[in-house]
């Protein structure tokens, strides 16, 4: 996809204005998935801003975000980084054949206690 179009699309989907970011890093400092991410929330913001989106689309960091909204709550500039991550993640899994999770993967993940909520949430986040 054309780089400029991709950037505009992600900004439109998310409703986020990455220009508001002042690079304080508070979003990444509070992110519970920080240690497991290659690109951290503040990097999603700056890389979308600069149009450097391809590396984000390929990164497993997309699937480590817990949608806990801590970065949304605690950003002093109201940037809402999780919404950008969500838009990039959807852009990635909406591509043909790019579903992260398929029904065939499920049996191996089950145990007797796992709540339905875990399955439906994972499908919502990892599958189009």
């Amino acid at each position: 996809m054309n780089k400029k179009y991709l950037r505009e699309d992600i900004i439109r989907m998310s409703g986020v204005n990455p220009k508001k970011c002042m690079r304080c890093g508070k979003c990444s400092g509070t992110c519970p998935a920080y240690d497991e991410m290659e690109y951290h929330p503040h990097q999603f913001v700056s890389m979308v801003e600069s149009g450097d989106i391809e590396p984000l689309l390929e990164s497993d960091s997309l699937y480590r975000c817990l949608t806990c909204f801590a970065c949304v709550e605690r950003c002093p500039r109201g940037v809402e980084p999780a919404k950008l991550i969500e838009a990039v993640r959807l852009t990635a899994i909406r591509r043909q054949g790019a579903n992260r999770l398929t029904p065939n993967d499920i049996p191996a993940m089950l145990d007797d206690e796992i709540p339905q909520q875990a399955l439906v949430s994972a499908f919502r986040k990892y599958t189009k």
Partner: protein, 263 residues
Amino acid sequence: MKFSYFPGCTLKNKAKDLDRYAIRSAEALGISLEEIENWQCCGGVFTTARDEIATKLSSVRILKAAKDKEQDLITVCSACHNVVKQTNNAMQNDAEFSSKVNRYMASEGGYDGSTTVYHYLEMLRDIVGFDALREKVVKPLSGKKIAAYYGCLLLRPGSVMKMDDPENPTIMEDMIRAMGAEPVIYGNRNECCGGYVVMESPELAKKKSGDVIRNAKAQGADMIITACPLCKYNLMKNGADVPVVYFTELLAEALGVKEDTNE
């Protein structure tokens, strides 16, 4: 007093206690919860993307069902509450989104975002009142030190959920006091348990849930309460050596309606 009630998928399956004790306790408090008919799963997690329409229709239909009955809507699962409330907020404040939704729903009549949504805890605080609750307690939980675990979904984003101060909540602690027990305040009470990422990365859930348990115990908790089936699962799976209990179960115990003679 009557309300529309949306239990959600997990409360009909792995989290039956959350549902059963919610209904029974409400009855003891003079509130009848009327389950919405033919509801569908909310999807478990709200998608913030503004162009995701179809995946949000089940929530819109839940909201509309309550409106059609001219009732306010009560939810009890943290995740359902988050999804339904954020969807309602989008219907109220995102004109492009709500117009697309209403085009999908043209044949069943539209929805305008006007349903009031309460989490069960808000019902206890704002409709019953904690003072009235205290008076209805027949088995005070005296001597128990209870850690309320909010997790992320009940409180955030604070500007949408509007339940409590997202960084320094008191609603569950006030409920604990009304039941005669002592609340334990600890830093991780509003941090994430690892959520659905447990499906891909059990290590992440182990770390995050472990932090919550250690922190609550270090502050002296001998029990943890939650409103979320996934929080309960992650905590129990990752070494909770104190009971992790749904808040409705504890409430039913305090109200003296936990044992059911019909079952």
